[in-house]
Amino acid sequence: MFAGFMVHAWVVATMVAVVAGVVGFFTVLRGSAFVAHAVPQAGFAGAAGASLIGISTFAGLGTFAVVSALAIGMLGKRGRHDAVTALALVFMLGLGALFLSWSEEYASAIYALLFGEVLGVSTNQVLATAVLGVVCISAVVILYRPLLLSSVMPEAAEARGVRSHRMEMYFLVVVALVTTMSVPVVGALLMFSLMVGAPGAARSFTDKPLGALGLSVGISVAIVWIAIAASYETDWPVGFFVGVLGAVFFVTGRGWAAWRRSGAGRVERARQPATGPMRFTTATGMNTEPT
């Protein structure tokens, strides 16, 4: 499982998992899960088009992802952009279907773009993935505070000079870059489960923003590692395991949160009538350690 050609797979998949976990934290926080679904479909159409005219699929993927992300941001400037996102999604999927119909001999390559091809990663791809990964992580580290502020309180952020729309555009570009590095590895349809499943599960386990970000990365890496190992053993597609594990972690997180809520609820009821020092015990007994 760790022989020659598999090393690339492990390295690239781990990088993708880390970056998807980091960016996914903000995707879920901002309620942009739908965008994280649409942009990879655009990437798929771009890659299919690129292979049709014989240029690098990576370039086609990146170009379409960035352009569609910027278009969603510009057209959705006023308020919610779910309708614009949906249109971008179906438009790009339609375009992808057209390119696919023109190039039947590339069907297996296209299949890989949709569902991932982690076991066939080349050395060039390792380098490109690493560069994009570093760019994405750096962007999130730099934007962390204003992005967090504008995600939870856009009006208060504006009042402090953080322009919400500018933050949205920066974030969409980061999503497009993550897409570009992830689609060749986990596929357009399934990177979604890393970007949404892992961070969605993480926030059920912790109340701290940085804690949830770290846990999101951990869960994302776990999903990818288990998926690769299981795929290697069973010969079933990696994408299947990534999708299933994303859902399993998410549901487990929900179950944990519900269980904890019922426990915390008992503490809360117990503290209600007290007026003295009891008031200063926290409602969520298990999250009192310092940051």
């Binding site: 204003p146 208060a156 009042a159 109340d207």
Partner: protein, 283 residues
């Protein structure tokens, strides 16, 4: 009657001079002028759509007046201003958002700066002190989405205050609070204004909760404003001129009801019902 001398002794923090604002062909604000002084609590009173939020946006620099001036301590407003703390109207937060009250407060220190803040003892003490100042220690580690209206409001006040502003703006902070939290928040804001010598501007559609602590009132109706002490502004002649039709000002124990004129008696009954609250000052 409060003596004007007492006000003038306090340094002026903000002054609006003849501010008018046109947005897409409509005059939203007309010749609005008032000043806010350090240590004073001012109520920005008016019904929904009267122009209260627009006045906030002008003060924050998010709207540029079509005419008139906004002066901050006697100078034109700087482009980015940490000296203004702002508490937005009810933020609808998803209960799953992994953010505790203390994280919200910490974002107030430097949430507009780039990078991830390194945890330090100094930062933590700053946040703890702020939480204590608004009596929020009990829920410091609770998720913001799980806080009650009053708890969230106190956390937001701490968020706005931690950067040590000279002016604190609160957009309808009492809108979704029960009477008890309402009194707690009003008392807290009055204490903050006095102790930290901050100018506090609170917008509200209902002035009665603010009456015991309000030093001045800016009354807004259809884009026009009148300002001064409650006695100077909340009078039949002033408000009738502001509204452009006759209104009655009724004093009922220590509450004030502003109702449409005599010829529209049915409004009176409605307003009475709305204000049939238990007497204040029980807590």
């Amino acid at each position: 009657m409060t003596s004007p001398d007492r006000f003038d002794a306090r340094p002026e923090v903000l002054r609006l001079e003849g501010v008018s604002l046109w947005l897409s062909g409509r005059e939203i604000l007309h010749d609005v002028g008032f000043s806010l002084r350090a240590g004073e609590l001012t109520g920005l009173i008016g019904s929904n759509g009267a122009g209260k939020t627009t006045i906030f946006r002008v003060i924050l620099g998010l709207e540029t007046p079509s005419s008139g001036r906004v002066l901050f301590a006697g100078h034109p407003r700087p482009h980015r201003n940490r000296l203004i703390g702002y508490v937005p109207q009810s933020i609808g937060l998803d209960p799953d958002v992994p953010l505790r009250a203390r994280d919200l407060v910490a974002l107030g220190i430097d949430g507009d700066r780039f990078g991830i803040p390194l945890p330090s003892r100094g930062r933590r003490r700053l946040v703890d002190d702020m939480l204590e100042a608004v009596d929020a220690q009990a829920f410091a580690d609770t998720r913001v989405g799980k806080l009650s209206g009053g708890e969230l409001q106190r956390s937001l006040i701490a968020h706005a205050l931690i950067s040590q502003p000279r002016l604190l703006l609160l957009d309808e902070p009492l809108a979704s609070l029960d009477i008890r939290s309402e009194q707690e928040v009003v008392g807290l804001l009055a204490r903050i204004a006095r102790e930290q010598q901050i100018a506090v501007l609170i917008s509200a559609h209902e002035m009665n909760p603010l009456l015991p602590v309000m030093d001045r009132v800016v009354y807004v109706a259809s884009g026009r404003a009148a300002s001064g002490s409650t006695e100077e502004v909340v009078r039949e002649d002033v408000l009738s001129a502001l509204y452009g039709h006759h209104v009655d000002v009724l004093h009922l124990q220590d509450r004030i009801l502003v109702v449409a004129g005599k010829d529209e008696g049915h409004h009176l009954e409605l307003e009475r019902e709305q204000h049939a609250l238990p007497p204040r000052g029980l807590g």
